[in-house]
Amino acid sequence: MSEDHPLAKLLARAAGGDRASFRALYDATSAKLLGTILRICKDRDLARDLLQEVYVKIWQNARSFDATQSSPVTWMVAIARYRAIDEMRRRKPETSGSEQELDDAAAEFVDPLASRDRREEAARLSQCLDGLEAERRQAILLAYCYGASRESLAERFARPVATIKTWLRRSLTQLRGCLEG
């Protein structure tokens, strides 16, 4: 997290109204944000519309980005995820990830961060996720990466929605304890 990050510089210039820097920021990040949105909402036409909205929002909020508080990609991915999740919640549960998609996704998460970047934070989070019971860990990952709602998780794991809510909250508490331990 630093103001020297190249994307942070582009964001700072965009905040000052520099459209060319914003274009460069778009070129550097749009594939990631589109992939993020598409994984949650599945529909390419909708994803394109949401991506446009997300970049307009990034432009509008660029001034509020604080490079000492978060990384540019973390900040932008959050905006994209929230927009896609809001849209899915608005469209009601039946249009979010199907049972089959969630099953396929669950199979992917053997050791999600194992072969990836071994930066210290990633390694740490991976270790802490491993400390969760398998189903709870899957629930966290399906929610974060696929936008799974409590209802779709309840269906996937054949548990009441209230149980899922308890799982999620306890898992978050456990993760936080582990990360700070």
Partner: protein
């Protein structure tokens, strides 16, 4: 009143994405006024950020930037509004701190209502008994005057119905905006004849009425959710 643990759990679920729409809107509205909640959200975004590496990349066939740029140009015409928005956000920030102090002093505080803006022309109000349990999200598209009310886990007593009212000093009595469903979205054009100024300066109230609605055209039962708009018209 929420404890620090509740706040952190709420922030965690917000970042995870598992809150329902009403809860998400409530967090969005509170976030701009509650520095602690905002910090808790940023904390979770940071903690879970390594998971972003699992998110794939995807490319578009066509370059989207020209249409993004055009959308930004359209915003440019509203620069004065953007400036006003920033002033309002600062004001909300101060109001948030003030209200946090007020909550400490008055735990038994009654209904509250938060208002945020999700798009250029949309006003959103959360009708709640307290800050953590919103009962209805009311949104108004100022362009079309469409009123949408989304319920969340509320149930009127048997034989009773919820009726929404617009309360404004300009009118002697509350104006009915119709019955609202406790289980499904209610959409109506009952705001069609009101100006932006009236809508933004009104209080919305929900009263308990007999099935079929108030027989007199005025509220006859207790007001169960209400609050003032805390936000001027954009």
């Amino acid at each position: 009143m929420s404890t620090p643990d509740d706040l952190d759990a709420l922030a965690g679920e917000y970042v995870l994405g598992t809150l329902d729409l009403v809860e998400r809107r409530a967090v969005d509205a509170r976030r701009s006024r509650e520095p602690l909640l905002d910090a808790a959200i940023r904390g979770w975004e940071d903690r879970l950020a390594p998971l972003n590496e699992l998110l794939p990349e995807a490319t578009l066939e066509a370059d989207l930037f020209p249409s993004i740029s055009a959308a930004i140009d359209r915003l440019g015409a509203d620069q004065g509004i953007a400036h006003l928005n920033r002033r309002i956000r600062r004001w909300q920030w101060a109001a948030g701190l003030a209200s946090a102090a007020a909550v400490v002093l008055a735990v038994g505080l009654g209904a509250s209502m938060l208002l945020t803006r999700t798009a250029q022309t949309e006003l959103v109000a959360l009708l709640a008994k307290d800050a953590t349990s919103p009962a209805f999200v009311v949104s108004v598209d100022l362009a079309s005057r469409q009123l949408t009310v989304l319920p969340s886990a509320v149930e009127p007593p048997a034989g009773k119905a919820y009726e929404l009212w617009l309360v404004n000093a300009r009118y002697e009595a509350p104006r009915s905006l119709g019955l609202i469903s406790p289980s499904a979205a209610t959409r109506s054009d009952r705001l069609a004849s009101y100006s932006d100024e009236v809508i933004a300066s009104s209080t919305l109230a929900v009263s308990l009425e007999p099935d079929g609605g108030s027989p007199t055209g005025k509220p006859t039962g207790p007001v169960v959710f209400s609050g003032r708009f805390v936000h001027p018209k954009i």
